[in-house]
């Protein structure tokens, strides 16, 4: 329905086609997610949703704020992705197969597996909860939702009014049989829903712009849905889910009408507010609470402080890495590592055990550096690719498996990596500077290169268009269930890897075009 709506609404808008391609892409992802029978297929859809959201938020790619916010939202989605990857990894080990949702509802099966590994069960549930919370903008991730309202109103309506934001609820419902009997998890979900709905209602009450008001009140309702799900009221939750989705979509679509409507209301019914001046306790509380709500409980800066700043800090420590250094040191080191792999027998078992960790730490260093690289786009790109090689090496050490798995994994990355590198080089010769210190907005002048590079990015980030995706999944199956550290390191490097890639794309191709100052909007608009 919304698509039909937007056909007229977006009529004559530049990027009309781009919009519809992205929307179709989104539907593809959505359908895969909804119709998927197991976590793995769901994950494909999940990734598609993430990337199409990014593209729709950054639809107005020549302005600063949409692009900045799109990167922000993407980074939060990425956290959700990793929660899902880890959940998948654990459930592999738990069930020794790609478990389908259908089988999950088989109580005996689940129960028998969980009996012996109750902490694994809790771990999986927690990971699912994290990804659900990230996707459904529950605490502490809530601030992304209002910031995602940068695209055309209909796309905001689809995503953030209805489909996308309810995905978290969907995945909870889907995996419900799994954690049904874990009381602690259910209490946790309920509590999360409760705090979210309270905090978000407060924030919604002080919002003075239409869309952010709708966004926060929607978050609050989803909080309640979480409670309903936790309480086991599946049908009520589903009913509420659908009602809320429809309501918010419609409210967003008619949001521009609010001016004429409310002004008219005010014209007839205006009563001036009365104010008393006193220093009472309730006043103090009221003011304090108001300020807190207006500042969104500092959630945004909280995310910055505890999530991104440490990453940035770590990356800055690696500031000494330059392209020649990377090439002269790490490539020989990698060759050394590969040689070690072939002559494994020479390595003592204790070192052998440590090697995967060491390699994955090196890989992580690569992406950290890549993520925080301020100047050289190509260096950043190379580092991203190298990271995958290190990961592959580390996992190969971890467990012996067929070489084809690694090949499968690295094949897509090498091809798309090279492709992406060539594009960056071409752009560099065309434009001179492609440094990452600011948004450069080259899509304005080179839309085709931008599209090609986007495809390269997707390929490298293990998007389900390459064999890499299958490889990625396989790689995880080769991490043992007791290797939490390795799993953690690998997944962390996957998160940051995806972020670094999107960051390169955004910085080089999106944002106001640096060379046409006069045709661009203000940064603040």
């Amino acid at each position: 329905m919304v698509t039909i709506y937007s056909r007229y609404y977006l009529h004559r808008e530049t990027g009309y086609k781009r919009f519809f391609n992205t929307i179709l892409f989104f539907y593809l992802g959505y359908n895969i997610t909804i119709l998927s029978g197991n976590l793995e297929t769901l994950f494909i859809g999940w990734e598609l949703l993430g990337i199409s959201s990014f593209l729709l938020i950054a639809f107005y790619r020549d302005r600063y704020l949409p692009v900045k916010n799109a990167v922000k939202v993407f980074s939060i989605y990425r956290i959700g992705d990793v929660g899902l990857i880890l959940a998948m990894w654990m459930s592999h080990h738990l069930f020794q197969e790609n478990i389908t949702f259908l089988k999950l509802s088989n109580y005996e099966l689940v129960h028998s597996h969980l009996q012996s590994h109750s902490w694994i069960g809790i771990f999986i549930s927690l990971m699912i909860l994290i990804s659900a919370a990230a996707k459904s903008a529950q605490l502490p991730f809530s601030t992304w939702l209002p910031r995602a309202m940068e695209g055309p109103t209909p796309s905001s309506a689809i995503f953030y009014g209805s489909l996308s934001v309810h995905m978290g609820v969907f995945i909870l419902l889907r995996t419900f049989p799994f954690w049904e009997h874990q009381l602690s998890v259910r209490i946790l979900i309920g509590l999360l829903g409760l705090t979210t709905s309270l905090v978000a209602t407060g924030i919604a009450r002080v919002q003075s712009s239409v869309k952010s008001q709708i966004a926060y009140s929607s978050i609050a309702q989803i909080g309640i849905i979480f409670i309903e799900v936790a309480a086991g009221l599946e049908y009520l939750a589903l009913f509420h889910f659908a009602g809320n989705a429809f309501l918010r979509t419609y409210q967003l679509l008619v949001s521009p009408s609010v001016v004429s409507y409310q002004i008219r209301e005010q014209f007839y019914n205006f009563i001036p507010r009365q104010q008393t001046k006193e220093d009472s306790w309730p006043k103090k509380l009221e003011y304090s609470l108001y300020i807190l709500c207006l500042k969104e409980w500092n959630l945004d800066s909280f995310m910055y402080k505890y999530l991104w700043n440490p990453v940035k800090w770590a990356g800055k420590k690696l500031g000494y890495l330059t392209t020649p250094k990377v090439l002269t040191f790490f490539i020989p080191a990698y060759i050394l590592g590969t040689l070690l792999f072939y002559f494994e027998d020479l390595v003592t078992p204790s070192i052998h055990e440590l090697l995967p960790i060491v390699f994955s730490i090196i890989g992580l260093m690569m992406v950290l550096k890549s993520f925080t690289e301020r100047i050289h786009a190509r260096l950043s790109w190379i580092l991203v690719i190298l990271n995958h090689f290190w990961v592959a090496l580390s996992i190969s050490f971890n467990e012996h498996f067929e070489f084809t798995h690694t090949l499968l994994y690295l094949s897509g990355i090498s091809v798309f990596g090279l492709f992406g590198y060539l594009i960056l080089r071409r752009l560099k010769t065309l434009e001179g500077s492609i440094d990452l210190d600011q948004f450069r907005g080259y899509s304005y002048k080179h839309p085709k290169l931008a599209l090609a590079f986007l495809i390269a990015c997707l390929g490298v980030s293990g998007f389900p268009i390459t064999p890499t995706f299958v490889g990625e999944d396989l790689i995880f199956t080769h991490i043992h269930e007791d290797q939490i550290l390795l799993a953690f390191l690998t997944s962390l490097s996957f998160i940051i890897d995806g972020l670094a890639i999107i960051r390169i794309y955004a910085r080089v191709f999106l944002g106001p075009h640096v060379k046409s100052v006069y045709e661009m909007a203000y940064r603040s608009s």
Partner: protein, 830 residues
């Protein structure tokens, strides 16, 4: 303008800053004005390039666009060469033409923002992203007119005092660190004092404040507009630019404290070189000159054929002495084609154009309304009040706007019940759009059946210092000047219609911009009813008769409202018509209907989603649906493509197809030989039509900085403005959907009178003269007898010879209209 002022005069700087900021009032009072009003004291060409160098605006089309127009023939070689000859000399034509067509130019960076950019360059801190989101949110919450459920707790004081009060009482704080809070509570909020902490060098203060405020000109402009006219917010707030600056400086200090601790050095200690002075004298570059030549060539290529058209007369058509009816419309460019169709369908009728408030200025109060609405051009402050009485109005509500849906528990209920109703409604709006309470409808501006307090009972009948209604003498004065200014003093038809206009749209925060500009962005229905009531009064007619203006007793005035979006007309007080006139009115009504159908067809050629080749009735139905469709961002195109204003008799333009691009103001030089009425007309035409024209002009050439960008991602802020997303700056100006078909040409004002009279008239008021002498509006005088043309430039008039040999004739207008969607050149209708 002081340059390099070492001493910082806070008051003066703030005053100057306010002058430069966008002056757009809140959405409900959207009134068109010259976007670059701050530069109006300069000549147009100098002004726009100064603005561009200083503030980074784009002020013309790009060279590529001009070159494209030249290639396609829209810029004519003959016109270009004539302009080159005049300005550069015959021998320079070749050199300049080469430059115009092939030279590559680069524009230097604008000056604004260069000082403040040092925070990022020297301190590696992005102050904007640390300060703006919070600042905007606090401002929006403070000014909010009714979106939030929980309003700003302290509001009766000024902005700064309210913030201070909250900081004093509350446990939490807007600030991250202690120092800024201490400064605020300690009353150390002197602008210079704070700037001393931040900058430290007095000579940079002024430029810093400009940089700072222009980094969010939308919000600053709104604050400045509310400060100047607090009544523009129904729920009034005390706010000033000074308060905003102080608070923003505090937030900046706070952000720096948070990042570096309190020990950071002020900006002046770290900057390596002083930035270019923002107010340094502007030196025209060659690019500016070239662009200017292109712009003139672009404008005169169009003007020239218009002028040729005005000189060409359709001789041989008999003048019909006995009129079937007369109709007055607003000078609005949208009335231009409707008048043409009325005259086509009934050759015996006669139409006039005059500013749509019809010379009656007053405040209007709706029945049960709590506020007054001004119904006259913005600069006038009326002394009269007209009240609507005797209305039983039922307000339709739409539950989707209820705030209950945003609170926790009622939201829980509503989303599960109403939510499914929304799905149904969404389906309905997509497949069968219909009228909804969310809509802004012109016909609802005043109830058709209501009574108005037009007559003043006695002089002491006043309310809030406004006189209720007009006395008979006051009425007579207004009717007389209206009729004389349009030259309608004899040959009255049995019915004289006075038709105001308004528009209907839905999902459109800019709805006020679509209504009548002469009624302060409202529909003109009340004004048309009021003036008709006055003109129908026996006593008024007697007074007029004494002054030599005789209106026959059989003549009756009927008010009406034309909805320009839906192409519908509503008439008022038809029951007062005499029996004979009632029958005539029925006949006329059908003529109006035909004309409206045809008019909607002519409009439809601009809408890509309507096939212009359908029958007029089918198109009209589609046009009506358009006005109620939630998903239609272009219910109508408003003043887009406006470019002309013609002050003169209808005979000048009646035979011409001007493609709805002209403001038409009726005026007869014979009735006004000394130019007394002409003065009023020109005063209004320059500021109203000139303002509309320039707002379209600048929103078109720089839709990002001077316009509002595309409206699709707009988010309504506090009911007074729109922004992109939730953290964005307010976007004043027009959205791209309103200006995309507009050609950026200045207004060409054509006056039919003797040159010496016009010359004398425009010099009567300096303010009006400024528009012409500084070339913000082009002025051409057409001699009423010889039809010679005179161009006003540099304070003199000189003879103008058209280059266009002849203009095309068109017999079948309909085919022409169906053939293209672009602007159609001037045609002679035969």
């Amino acid at each position: 303008m002081q340059t390099n002022s070492i001493i910082f005069e806070e008051h003066e700087v703030l005053h100057e800053l306010k002058h430069y900021l966008p002056a757009q009032a809140p959405l409900k009072d959207f009134i068109h004005h010259n976007t670059l009003h701050a530069f109006q004291k300069f000549k147009f060409s100098k002004a726009i390039y100064t603005a561009s160098t200083m503030l980074g605006y784009r002020v013309s089309m790009s060279l590529a666009e001009y070159r494209g127009c030249y290639e396609s023939g829209r810029i004519k070689t003959s016109v270009l060469e004539k302009i080159l000859t005049q300005q550069k000399g015959v021998d320079q034509i070749k050199v300049w033409k080469q430059k115009m067509l092939h030279e590559v130019y680069h524009k230097p960076s604008p000056r604004i923002g260069s000082l403040r950019a040092n925070w990022k360059r020297e301190y590696q801190i992005d102050l904007d992203s640390l300060v703006h989101p919070l600042l905007f949110r606090i401002l929006c919450s403070f000014l909010d007119q009714g979106i939030a459920m929980w309003n700003f707790p302290v509001w009766h004081n000024s902005f700064l005092a309210s913030i201070r009060e909250m900081e004093r009482v509350s446990f939490s704080s807007f600030f991250r660190q202690g120092r800024a809070k201490k400064l605020l509570l300690g009353g150390q909020t002197n602008v210079s004092y704070l700037l001393n902490i931040l900058i430290g060098d007095e000579s940079l203060y002024k430029q810093y404040l400009f940089d700072q405020q222009f980094s969010h000109q939308g919000w600053s402009g709104m604050v400045s507009a509310v400060e100047d006219q607090p009544q523009t917010l129904l729920d009034a707030r005390k706010i000033s630019l000074h308060d905003l600056i102080v608070f923003e400086l505090l937030l900046e200090i706070d952000a720096l404290d948070d990042h570096f601790g309190e020990g950071w050095l002020p900006l002046c200690k770290r900057i390596k070189e002083k930035p270019v002075d923002l107010f340094a004298k502007y030196e025209p570059t060659e690019l500016d000159e070239v662009t200017n030549l292109w712009q003139e060539a672009y404008e005169w290529s169009y003007y020239d054929e218009v002028l040729k058209g005005l000189q060409t007369t359709n001789q041989g058509e008999p003048v019909i002495k006995v009129k079937s009816f007369q109709a007055m419309f607003c000078i609005d460019d949208r009335a231009c084609s409707l008048r043409r169709y009325l005259e086509k369908h009934d050759p015996a009728c006669e139409t006039f154009g005059t500013p749509g408030f019809f010379g009656v200025e007053f405040f209007f109060q709706l029945d049960h309304g709590k506020f007054y609405t001004k119904l006259c051009p913005a600069p006038i402050t009326p002394k009269y009040l007209i009240k609507e009485i005797g209305v039983r109005r039922k307000h339709e509500k739409d539950v989707h706007f209820t705030k209950h849906s945003h609170s926790l528990f009622s939201g829980w209920l509503i989303s599960q019940t109403l939510g499914f109703w929304s799905a149904f409604k969404l389906l309905l709006t997509i497949f069968k759009p219909s009228v909804s309470p969310a809509m802004a409808s012109s016909f609802k501006h005043m109830e058709k059946t209501s009574k108005l307090t037009i007559e003043n009972k006695h002089l002491h009948h006043r309310e809030n210092d406004l006189q209720i209604g007009f006395t008979i003498e006051e009425m007579a004065v207004r009717v007389e000047s209206l009729l004389k200014s349009i030259g309608l003093v004899k040959d009255f038809a049995p019915i004289v219609y006075v038709i105001g206009h308004g528009s209907s749209s839905v999902n459109n925060p800019h709805y006020a911009a679509y209504d009548c500009g002469a009624c302060s962005g409202r529909a003109g229905s009340v004004n048309s009813r009021v003036i008709c009531h006055m003109a129908n009064q026996r006593k008024v007619r007697e007074l007029l008769c004494d002054k030599g203006l005789e209106i026959p007793d059989t003549t009756q005035f009927v008010g009406g409202l034309h909805d320009t979006t839906r192409d519908e007309i509503m008439f008022f007080d038809e029951e007062l018509l005499s029996i004979g006139n009632r029958e005539r009115h029925w006949v006329n009504e059908s003529i109006f209907t035909q004309a409206l159908d045809a008019n909607s067809k002519e409009r439809s050629r601009r809408f890509e989603s309507i096939n212009t080749e359908l029958s007029t009735e089918e198109i009209h139905a589609k046009i009506r649906i358009r006005s109620v469709s939630l998903f239609e961002p272009r219910p109508e195109l408003n003043h887009a493509t406006n470019s002309l204003c013609i002050v003169g008799r209808r005979s000048l333009t009646q035979h011409l197809f001007l493609d709805r691009r002209a403001f038409l103001n009726s005026f007869d030089y014979q009735v006004d030989p000394d130019g007394n009425y002409l003065f009023n007309i020109l005063e209004a035409a320059a500021s109203v039509c000139g303002g509309i024209n320039l707002e379209y002009f600048f929103s078109r050439v720089d839709n990002q900085k001077l316009g509002a960008g595309t409206k699709l991602p707009h988010n309504v802020m506090g009911l007074f403005g729109v922004a992109n997303g939730i953290d964005g700056d307010l976007r004043p100006g027009l959205p791209s959907q309103m200006i995309e078909v507009h050609d950026p040409v200045r207004l060409l004002l054509v006056v039919e009178h003797f040159p010496e009279v016009v010359l004398k008239t425009i010099q009567k008021s300096l303010e009006t003269y400024e528009w012409f002498i500084n070339e913000w509006v082009h002025l051409i005088v057409i001699h009423p007898i010889t039809r010679e043309l005179f161009h006003f430039k540099e304070g003199r008039v000189s003879n103008y010879k058209t280059l266009t040999e002849s203009i095309q004739k068109v017999a079948d207008l309909e085919t022409l209209l169906e053939s293209q969607t672009e602007n159609i050149s001037v045609h002679l209708i035969s």
